[in-house]
């Protein structure tokens, strides 16, 4: 009888685990909520346990920075001269761009930085690439928000709790984001594959990628704003497979920004603008 009861208990827990696996696959709301509560509960404990690692990391960064201060200074001076030259060029281009967009009546989407957050936990697994950040609904973070830093796109929010959120990284096997090639504007889907390099889905057969091609977000889908750096093509295999090195160094992430992007819609155009547009379009159609 005791043996039977024991076997029944084992079977119950194994079946419960399998049920969670099956129901969790379809983003079950209850499971997602349980996860959120657990994140919030554990964030302070993880932060506390992380103090020695964080202190050691800060110390080694400080030592490295001191050791490299002279070479960094020379490099930054040279970079500053180059950037000043580029600033003049880009200001001219910005004015041109603004003028042309006004002529075509193109509206940009609105981009808001929701919050800046610290990374408190990492999945550290070969199968899953995600991170926990210490901002949640209290900081207005929502599921689907984009996560970036000064280097480029990091990922997007997939689960939000009150004081924490989970970020699915670009290189996770479940990550898909719409991107474009800078040189020809071809829109493709960037796919993560749990490895260091990212891949491309739905590459048109007549388009050839070459090493050094820059990849930016296309803005399609409305999650990521257009023209954020994503990566650069580093290898094109004979099979046609393209390997992209992410713009962001995922191993050195400390702080990230959560951004909210809203696509401009026609209701945002003023009544006057709509009225002014009508005759010109009609005239063009007549011609």
């Amino acid at each position: 009888m005791n043996g039977f009861r024991k076997r029944l208990t084992i079977s119950f827990f194994i079946l419960a685990s399998i049920s969670f696996l099956i129901f969790g696959r379809s983003q079950n709301t209850l499971i997602e909520q349980i996860r959120s509560y657990v994140f919030d509960l554990f964030i302070p404990i993880i932060t506390l346990v992380d103090i020695p690692r964080d202190a050691t990391s800060n110390l080694s960064d400080r030592v490295r920075n001191i050791a490299m201060v002279f070479s960094d200074n020379r490099f930054l001076r040279e970079e500053n001269i180059e950037l000043k030259r580029k600033l003049i060029e880009s200001t001219e281009l910005e004015i041109d761009n603004f003028r042309l967009k006004s002529l075509l009546n193109i509206k940009n989407g609105t981009l808001n930085t929701v919050t800046a957050s610290r990374i408190v936990s990492d999945s550290n697994s070969p199968f899953f690439r995600s991170m926990l950040i210490n901002s949640g609904t209290q900081a207005n973070v929502k599921k689907g928000h984009a996560v970036v830093n000064e280097e480029g796109v990091i990922g997007r929010i997939i689960n939000v709790a009150v004081n924490s959120s989970r970020v699915l990284l670009l290189n996770d096997i479940n990550s898909r984001i719409p991107v474009k090639f800078v040189k020809n504007g071809i829109n493709v889907i960037l796919a993560g594959n749990n490895s260091r390099f990212l891949g491309i889905n739905f590459m048109p057969e007549d388009v050839k990628a070459v090493n050094g091609d820059l990849i930016l977000t296309s803005g399609m889908g409305g999650v990521f704003p257009p023209d954020l750096p994503v990566g650069v093509v580093v290898n094109v295999l004979a099979t046609g497979e393209i390997k992209i090195e992410p713009a962001v160094n995922f191993d050195r992430l400390n702080y990230v920004s959560v951004i909210d992007y809203e696509i401009a819609n026609f209701s945002e155009l003023s009544e006057g603008q709509m009225e002014n547009n009508k005759p010109s379009r009609l005239e063009r159609l007549k011609q």
Binding site: A16, V49, M131
Partner: protein, 166 residues
């Protein structure tokens, strides 16, 4: 009265010590290390904890506790909910089955059983995750995880046994 009270509380702590130590190992696993080699090949620290406690103090780590620890690990790691609880329960049952037959054998033999357990655990986690995502996942990093888990066992065992004695 005081002595009696002290004795009671120390017994209570000893009862939850396995749960606390495995939970601590889970937290160690999810810290943001920023070193690529650690980041993608974190050893199965919880398996070491489960193996140690199930082998030496099986009564202190019931199946319900292993189930909860597995779910906590899934939540903090971001892995599919239920994956680690399933794997850890299977591992614990394997340990119980083996310990019944081989506990009296020497350390080398027990360590050999541990190696088989870690290899099985690693490839089972790879297999179930591949099935879950319906994709053939890379397995090289799992092999490194397996090797690191085997190499780390003596250190963690020593730490846990020191805790257990104190």
């Amino acid at each position: 009265m005081n002595i009696l009270h002290k004795g009671k509380s120390s017994f209570g702590i000893k009862k939850i010590l396995p749960f606390i130590t495995v939970l601590f190992l889970i937290i160690i696993m999810v810290l943001p290390y920023q070193y690529k080699i650690i980041a993608n090949t974190m050893p199965f620290l919880t398996l070491i904890g489960i193996y140690y406690w199930s082998f030496f103090k099986p009564n202190l780590l019931p199946i319900g506790a292993v189930f909860v620890l597995g779910l906590l690990q899934d939540t903090l790691l971001g892995s599919p909910f239920g994956l680690m609880s399933l794997l850890l329960i299977v591992a614990q049952q394997f340990i119980f089955f083996q310990s019944r037959h081989f506990l009296e054998k020497n350390f080398i033999f027990n360590f050999f059983i541990y190696i088989i357990l870690v290899i099985g655990f690693g490839f089972l986690s790879w297999g179930i995750t591949s099935l879950y995502f319906v994709v053939f996942l890379e397995y090289w990093e799992v092999i490194i995880q397996i090797l690191l888990t085997i190499a780390l066992y003596p250190i963690i065992k020593l730490t846990l046994s020191l805790n257990n004695k104190s």
